[in-house]
Symmetry: D2
Subunit: 207 residues, 4 copies
């Protein structure tokens, strides 16, 4: 079987290279995927020239089209986002608005473009909102055709009122480590299953 | 291969036998599953003697334990709920609070109890909230080990401010019919895949 | 000015008298209200004989009608709930489904029944979901006519993966204490303002 | 009494001047506020040079600082956003991430900066998500000190699966018109009340 390919979106608001909790969590998942022989590409979304919009190509130097293609060439899609004000960050929402354009497209069989791909999510915040944010992202990817394996979220939040960052205080916390390992393991299992046994056409085409 | 088994929870607030939009939507999914040779059991949750609580057995004539066992014996789990005040209904939340108890249990391999099962959701309301409600339910079942196939929700809501019920005005609307067919098709494909190829133990056990 | 009256709903799943984090948080708010000379009544919702339904009176020994009246006689309404599976508990949702019935009623001026009342919320959970749950409850009460003052939620959650309860580990945490005091203070200020200056009729009646 | 001032944020993804449902809904609210003698300023957020970030000033030609000041000079704040993939749009989230910075600031009395201001929200989408999105925005503004009056959201969504836009099919729908009028009326009443009777300092300062 050919090697699986994963694309991971780091949707931090920070510039590339800045110390980032989102990056730290995604790195755990990337390491767990690489250990399972998955070829990984991580995209720093805020620096990728993605334009606001809901089409696949917003023209004029838009950075999205090649990311769109990279998603279609991948078997595994992981979105990583910080929580701001209880919600997924603006960069993450901007990425999902561009993925939304896939709902007017199909694969060669007429199914939504993410059929036969699997998806997971990483979420980090100071104190609250990780499950809400994770559920919204996984749901959107499921709508676009992705399969969501068990335990497909790795998250961290501190206690109520906390202002600490994951990257500063919890890199060795066993809980996110466990979640990252579970997620990576199940992403690989389901991605291999769907590679070997693609979902057949059966009243599941897009129109 | 032996026949697949599905369990569907109707979480309407209404008494059994009353005209119900939730029942109407679940019936579409049940028919689409039965057409694919799945053995279906539908549970009217409000009438099943389920007690408030978060343990698997709340004692004293609690109706949950046998439903708990019925879930474990199924390959496919579908939750159907009305939307009230924008959220999943109280009966649905009560059912999920009992499913929450599975997070302290495992299958024979040490994984969460819903591993190798697939899950979908039906949601109906007057005007708004179907995607939010659906995402919360699918997320909880994914946490407990279920795999979520593509397009695993069939829903209906009317326009803003509308007070009409699905069962009265939209039974022939092609949109929910299409969603029910897509969901049933993908539930069956993934359930069969996981029956033939159960998720192996690999850093994905519960502790 | 006559004394303000507050009604507080404790929506724990536990029986009355059991050790409860929801009770512990509500007690902080009740003390802060009482200190400001507010007459408080706390209702243990799970033990109040409230029936599932969305009418004001579900007949046959339904415990809701007298609670419905008690809300209408109050100036301040506080809902306290645990978080289960990331959402407001089933008892809380059941209470809100009964409050939903107020959307087909009005006060003497034709406005929704909670006009000129103020509302706040208390939420406790192990690790996540407090802001999402709080926002849904405050929003529903706002829809029914309540005014929401600044900082109208007191919550506590522990860190990701935590299983500790508020009542066991955080009763002296300054953060929830601060939130309870802020909420009580602002509830009283706004309730007094609206008592002295009720919202006039001006394109804000219910039909 | 001096004239009230309102600031309205149009968080459409579209360029200024493009036909926009968000603009159409905000216009209804603006007209209803102007009729009540409120001085209104509407900001097209996507075109205002706002940078991604969570500080009040992200430097280098950031368009936010003067909007930050304009909010502080206003009595009424209204956020208008489209729904994309069930959530508030990325431009709206970007604006709220900048408002988040106010949580580390205070007014002259030591309270959060939005104390004595009132807030409302406009939300438009094709089919679903208006109440969820509205609740998240109002909640964040309440956290930052705003008071939320009754019926503080005007929204429109079409039926499930619908792809029509508010601006094309529902400008004369009485439901959003009614909601816009209710919201404007109550925003003005509460803004005047708080202008005349600011919330006193009483255990409600930010630290």
């Amino acid at each position: 079987m050919s090697k699986l390919k994963a694309i991971l979106f780091n949707c931090t608001l920070k510039a590339a290279g800045e110390r980032s909790s989102t990056h730290a969590m995604l790195s755990k998942v990337e390491a767990a995927l690489a250990k399972r022989d998955v070829r990984c590409e991580t995209v720093h979304a805020a620096g990728a020239g993605i334009k606001f919009g809901t089409d696949s190509d917003m023209g004029d130097g838009d950075g999205w089209p090649k990311l769109h293609d990279a998603i279609l060439e991948s078997d595994i899609l992981v979105i990583g986002t910080p929580i701001w004000f209880g919600q997924r960050g603006s960069v993450c929402q901007m990425v999902l608005e561009r993925i939304d354009s896939m709902l007017s497209q199909t694969n060669a069989k007429g199914q939504y473009p993410l059929y036969n791909k699997v998806a997971g999510v990483c979420v980090v915040g100071n104190e609250d909102g990780a499950q809400h944010v994770g559920s919204t992202i996984l749901y959107n990817l499921m709508q676009t055709g992705a399969t969501i394996p068990p335990n497909a979220e790795a998250y961290w939040v501190g206690p109520a009122g906390g202002r600490d960052d994951f990257v500063d205080v919890a890199l060795d916390d066993p809980y996110p480590n466990k979640m990252a390992a579970m997620m990576a393991s199940n992403l690989v299992t389901l991605a291999n299953l769907l590679k070997d046994h693609p979902i057949p056409v059966d009243e599941n085409t897009a129109e």
